[in-house]
Amino acid sequence: MPMIQATDGPIWRKRTPLKQWLIWGGWLVGLCIAVYAWQLISEKTIWMFVWDAPRQMADIGTRMVPPDWSYMDKLWRPVWDTLNIATIGTAIAMVLAVPIAFLAAHNTTPHKSVRAVMLFIIVGTRSVNSLIWALLLVVIVGPGVLAGTIAIGFRSIGGCAKLIYEAIEEIDQTQVEAIEATGGSRAQQMVYGIVPQILPTIAGVGVFRWDINVRGSTILGIVGAGGIGVQLNASINVLAWTQVSMVLIVILGTVFVSEYISAKVRGAII
């Protein structure tokens, strides 16, 4: 803690003057960026529409109640599809992510170049939102549940493999050495030394990712990749607001249930 000598004794300060100025400078730069960004955004905004928003909200809000409960009959199928997209997508991702994670972790990778390729796959699939994957896959395999499932799977490979390979890198190496000392081959070292240590992580990551994917798969229908998003988009396009509110309630319910299940299962595993 710096001390300044003044005429009437020392004055204590939390920071040195230089540090204080640097912090002020940081805030100033941050503020300038914020103002500049805001200016660019507001240039592209039609403010008339924004001022009109409260009226729009009240209008659409009143049109949305009461929710069209009878529409539920047509929503069971999309909800089932949504859950399938999330579950099968996660399963595909996990099946691919585990070997990729083993090839990417520096203590199990066969070669540095393999590791680089695997890290590239992890980063590449992780960086692209599942909606973008879905957009491309709809062109390739056609609209429907399959495109959504593959999109969710693709996006999740990176997300899962990253967490798993970090877990592999952080294992207790002594257990692997113990297996090696008994004369175990490299494959046996992995199966008996590494896998038991990371199995809880793998299960936890799978459930965690599934929860995220349920949320993600509700929107894929916007680009035609199946699930409840198709109904949401259709209802919004024909301005059937009572149906829209019904779909929103269903999404809310689905996500809550998936979050509850995921929290319960993770609690049981860890």
Binding site: A53, N84, I88, S127, I132, L135, I251
Partner: protein, 269 residues
């Protein structure tokens, strides 16, 4: 010592991950049944998929080389718009999150306020940013302002929740010490709570900036500004070389952001 006649197993089996054998077999059976039913009910137009394979190869071949010319001059503009949108919505979201996060901390707020703030958080966490963006576009018109609103609301669900949890887990003794000096509520929050949660919150805001950029790249698909609109147009016009440019720039920026934010987070903590 045990009885000499006791039979010990002379083989060893790996202990199963789930110890209760009934539960284990039920889970196995349930999983197999589920996948069977799910795959059976999945509607897949296989002829269309088969037709798609050459299309996919065609698309990939057009990806290389990416069309870097940006002939209409919209790609750079769209990407910059996405970046600015991510920055401003992170700031806006945090400004909204602080009061909500304080209200959602069990040890700070009265029960009615706690429940109110927690329900705001729950709703904004449940709906994906893209759904929020659809509604923002309906309310505020097309353009980045709608994206800003959607991403700010999305930020609340993330930031306010973690802030509230951090406040709930803070060290009580510091808070009591400041309270004992006769500090007002504001002074108490500023001197007892803020220093405890600030470092982690700075880290989280950088992390959220990262997430917001990823989302700001897609909200354009529903008309909420940013690069997403151009991505959608390029796919619809079969201009896959342009699609590749946009895709690779998004990946590049996401990686760059992830490294910088990771570096800054280490530096702050």
């Amino acid at each position: 010592m045990s009885d000499a006649s006791t039979q010990y197993a002379d083989t060893w089996k790996k202990p199963p991950f789930i110890k209760n054998s009934v539960l284990r077999w039920l889970i196995y059976l349930g999983t197999v049944t589920y996948f069977f039913v799910a795959l059976y009910t999945m509607e897949v137009n296989w002829p269309r998929v088969a037709e798609g394979i050459p299309r996919g190869i065609d698309m990939l071949s057009k990806f290389f080389p990416p069309d870097l010319s940006d002939s209409r001059g919209v790609i750079l503009d769209g990407i910059l718009e996405s970046i600015w949108m991510a920055i401003i919505s992170t700031i806006g979201g945090i400004l909204l999150s602080v009061p909500i996060g304080l209200g959602a901390a069990r040890n700070l707020a009265p029960t009615w306020m706690y429940l109110f703030c927690r329900s705001i958080i729950a709703v904004s966490r449940t709906f994906p940013e893209v759904i929020l963006a659809i509604f923002a576009v309906k309310f505020f018109g097309f353009g980045p302002f709608a994206g800003f609103v959607a991403l700010s609301i999305g930020t609340i669900g993330f930031f306010a929740k973690l802030l509230a949890e951090d406040i709930e887990n803070m060290s009580k003794s510091q808070a009591e010490a400041v309270r004992a000096t006769g500090a007002s509520w504001l002074q108490w929050v500023n001197y007892a709570i803020q220093p405890q949660v600030l470092p982690r919150m700075i880290g989280l805001s950088l992390y959220r900036l990262d997430i917001n950029f990823r989302e700001s790249a897609v909200v354009g698909i529903v008309g909420a500004g940013g690069i997403g609109a151009h991505l959608l147009t390029s796919v619809q016009r079969y201009e896959y070389a342009t699609t590749a440019t946009i895709l690779f720039s998004i990946i590049g920026i996401v990686i760059a952001l992830e490294y910088t934010s990771g570096y800054f987070r280490k530096w702050v903590q």
